[in-house]
C-alpha cells in the first residue's frame, strides 16, 4: 500500500481536529434519540449525499473529469444489496456484496471510458447510466422490472443510520487521505496535463482506473443503504439522474478537489433541497437546472 501512503506530518498537524470531530460524531449518533425520526431521516439523507459528493469528487474533482455516471454505481449497489437482502442475507453482508460486485464493473468500464475526454466522456457516462436503468427494468425476473423491487420494512432504523454515519465518515477520511497520497497527487497531475503526467512516468491508465474504483465503492454502499432505508428499489429512481447530478453539483458548487468543498456543497445543497422540496412543489428538477446553468456559465467565464 505504498501507493496510498500519507505523509505523517499531515496527520500530526490535523491531530487537534480530533476532539471537536469526535464530539460531532457523538452528537450525530444521538440525533435520532434526541429529535425523533424526522431528524433521523433528514440526517440520513444528508449523510448519503455527503458520501456521494465526496466519492464523486475523486473522479470529478481530483481527477477533474466531468462525470455523469456516479448514479450507475449507486443504482447497482442499491439493486445488488436489495437482492441480497431479499434472499435473506444480513445488511452488512449485503452491503459488502454490493460494494464488491461494483469493483469489477468499475475496473472493466474504466478501460473503454477513459479513452474519452471532456464532453464526450460526460456523454458516455450518461449513456452508461441509462443503460444501467434499462438493464434493471429489462431483467424483470430478478429485479421486478419497471415496477421495482420491494423489501420487508426496515426494522432496525438505528443500524441503517449508524452505518450511514460510519460510511460518510469513512468516505470523508478516505478523500482526505487520498488528497495527499501519491495516488491523489498523480490524479491531480493528470488533471493538469495528461501528456505531461504520462511523460514523467505516471501510469495514467492505472491511476484513473483506481480513481474510478475508489469513487464507485462508497457510491454503491450508499445505494445499498438507501435501498434498505426506503425498502424499495425502482429503476427510474435508483438509476435516475438525481444521484449523478446531485453529487456533481455538490462537488462543483465550491472548490472541487478539496475535501471541504464537496462536503460543504453536500451540506448546503441537501439542506436547500429539503427546504425547497417541502415548500415549493414541482420544483425538483428546476433547482438542479438553475444550478447547472449557473455553474456552467461560471465555468465558461473562468476558462
Amino acid at each position: 500500500m505504498v501507493y496510498l501512503s500519507v505523509k505523517p506530518a499531515k496527520l500530526k498537524r490535523s491531530g487537534l481536529l480530533i476532539i471537536p470531530l469526535s464530539a460531532l460524531v457523538l452528537l450525530l449518533f444521538l440525533v435520532p434519540t434526541l429529535w425523533g425520526s424526522y431528524a433521523r431521516i433528514l440526517i440520513f439523507t444528508i449523510l448519503l449525499y455527503v458520501t456521494l459528493a465526496v466519492s464523486y469528487d475523486v473522479v470529478g474533482g481530483i481527477l477533474g473529469y466531468l462525470y455523469l455516471g456516479h448514479g450507475l454505481f449507486f443504482g447497482l449497489g442499491a439493486y445488488i444489496t436489495a437482492l441480497a437482502l431479499k434472499h435473506g442475507q444480513t445488511l452488512p453482508l449485503a452491503l459488502l456484496l454490493g460494494a464488491s460486485s461494483v469493483l469489477p464493473v468499475a475496473a472493466l468500464l474504466s478501460l473503454p471510458l477513459f479513452r474519452l475526454h471532456g464532453a464526450v466522456f460526460a456523454l458516455a457516462t450518461l449513456g452508461l447510466l441509462m443503460l444501467g436503468g434499462q438493464l434493471a427494468s429489462n431483467l424483470a425476473d430478478f429485479t421486478g422490472g419497471a415496477a421495482g423491487l420491494s423489501l420487508l420494512p426496515n426494522t432496525k432504523p438505528m443500524v441503517t443510520y449508524s452505518l450511514a454515519l460510519v460510511l460518510a465518515l469513512a468516505a470523508v477520511l478516505m478523500h482526505w487521505l487520498l488528497g495527499s497520497s501519491s495516488l491523489g497527487l498523480e490524479l491531480s497531475s493528470i488533471q493538469e496535463s495528461e501528456d505531461m503526467a504520462e511523460s514523467v512516468g505516471i501510469n495514467c491508465v492505472k491511476a484513473k482506473r483506481l480513481a474510478l474504483i475508489i469513487s464507485a465503492i462508497p457510491a454503491a454502499m450508499a445505494g445499498g443503504l438507501h435501498a434498505r432505508e426506503i425498502s424499495f428499489v425502482i429503476p427510474a429512481e435508483a438509476f435516475g439522474l438525481e444521484y449523478s447530478l446531485a453529487p456533481l453539483l455538490m462537488c462543483l458548487l465550491f472548490k472541487p478537489g478539496t475535501t471541504w468543498g464537496p462536503l460543504l456543497g453536500a451540506l448546503v445543497l441537501s439542506a436547500a433541497q429539503e427546504f425547497i422540496w417541502t415548500t415549493v412543489p414541482g420544483f425538483r428538477l428546476s433547482l438542479y437546472g438553475i444550478l447547472l446553468i449557473f455553474i456552467g456559465m461560471q465555468r465558461a467565464k473562468r476558462s
Binding site: 466531468l66 473503454p112 474519452l116 449513456g127 441509462m130 438493464l135 425538483r284 437546472g289
Partner: protein
C-alpha cells in the same frame, strides 16, 4: 417472417430513423460544425410537440399553419436561449466551451422538462391521423407517415442546399473549418452561431411535430433521444450533415428490426450499448482518420 411484413417493418424503421435523423441533423448543425453542444435539443422537441397539440386544440382546422408557425416560434426561442445563456461564453475556442455548454444546456433541459410536466400535467401528446391510409398490395402505409417521410426528405435537401449554396451556409462552414481566419475576414462568430442555433431549434421543433404525428410524446422522452442523437453525431464525425442523417436512419431501422426478436426494451438497450461501444472504439468518429484534430 414473410416478405411483406419485412417491408412493413423496414418502412416503420425508416420513419423512426427519420426522427432520429432530424434530431441528429439539428445537433450536428451546432455540435459537429460549430462545437456547440446542446443537451436541451430533445427538450425543445418535446415542448414543440406539446405546444403543437395545444395549438391544434385551439385552432383545429389549420394544421399547415401551425406546422409553419410552431417551428418559427421555436427558432425565436432558440435564438433567445443562445443570447441569454450561451453567447457570453462563446469567445473561447470550442474545446473549452464544450463542458460549460454541456452543463448549461443540461440545466435548460431540466427546466424545460419540468415546465412541460407542470403545464401539461404528465399527459402524453399524440395526434389522430390526418390523411388516408395507403394500401399497396399487402403493405399498409398511413398517410401521416408518408407525408412525414416526404417532408423530412425535403427538409434535409433544403438544409443541404442552404449549407452548400447560400452565403449564410458558406459563412457557417468557414467558421467550422477555420475559426480565426473566418473571424478575420469579418464573419461574426456569435451572430452565425446564433443563427445556426435558432435553425437547429426550429429543426428540433419540426422533429417534435413529426413525432406527435407518428408516436406519442411524453416529457421524459427528451434526454434519451438527445443522447442517442448526440452519439450518432459524435460517431459520424464532425463537419457533415449527411453522415448524421444516414446514421439516424440506420439506427431507427436497426432498432425496429431488433425489436422483433428481442422486444422493444432490449432493442433500446442494444442500440444504446452499440452506440456506446462505437463511441469508445473510435472517439474521434468512425470516418475520421486519427491524424485529424478531434473535437473532444
Amino acid at each position: 417472417m414473410d416478405f411483406t411484413s419485412y417491408i412493413q417493418l423496414l418502412l416503420s424503421g425508416l420513419l423512426l430513423g427519420g426522427i432520429y435523423a432530424m434530431v441528429a441533423v439539428g445537433l450536428a448543425l451546432c455540435f459537429g460544425i460549430l462545437g456547440l453542444l446542446n443537451l436541451a435539443h430533445g427538450a425543445f422537441l418535446v415542448l414543440a410537440g406539446f405546444v403543437f397539440q395545444a395549438v391544434q386544440g385551439f385552432w383545429p382546422t389549420r394544421t399547415l399553419v401551425s406546422f409553419i408557425l410552431v417551428p418559427l416560434f421555436f427558432a425565436g426561442l432558440g435564438w433567445l436561449t443562445f443570447r441569454c445563456f450561451l453567447q457570453s461564453s462563446l469567445k473561447r475556442s470550442s474545446q473549452d466551451f464544450l463542458v460549460p455548454a454541456l452543463l448549461i444546456t443540461l440545466g435548460l433541459a431540466f427546466i424545460i422538462e419540468e415546465g412541460t410536466l407542470t403545464l401539461w400535467d404528465r399527459s402524453m401528446a399524440g395526434l389522430v391521423s390526418q390523411f388516408a391510409t395507403i394500401k399497396w398490395g399487402h403493405i399498409y402505409l398511413s398517410g401521416n407517415r408518408l407525408v412525414v417521410l416526404i417532408l423530412m426528405l425535403a427538409i434535409s435537401v433544403v438544409l443541404q442546399i442552404w449549407l452548400t449554396r447560400t452565403d449564410s451556409g458558406r459563412r457557417l462552414r468557414a467558421l467550422s473549418q477555420e475559426p480565426t481566419g473566418a473571424t478575420l475576414v469579418g464573419i461574426s462568430l456569435t451572430q452565425e452561431t446564433g443563427i445556426a442555433f435558432a435553425m437547429a431549434t426550429a429543426l428540433a421543433a419540426m422533429a417534435g411535430l413529426f413525432y406527435v404525428t407518428l408516436f406519442t410524446v411524453s416529457p421524459h422522452l427528451g434526454l434519451p433521444l438527445t443522447l442517442k442523437a448526440l452519439f450518432i453525431v459524435v460517431i459520424s464525425g464532425s463537419g457533415s450533415l449527411t453522415r448524421p442523417l444516414a446514421g439516424g436512419l440506420a439506427l431507427g431501422t436497426l432498432e425496429t428490426m431488433l425489436a422483433v426478436p428481442f422486444g422493444a426494451h432490449w432493442a433500446n438497450f442494444l442500440s444504446i450499448g452499440l452506440l456506446l461501444a462505437f463511441l469508445c472504439w473510435r472517439p474521434q468518429g468512425l470516418f475520421v482518420s486519427k491524424r485529424k484534430v478531434r473535437i473532444a
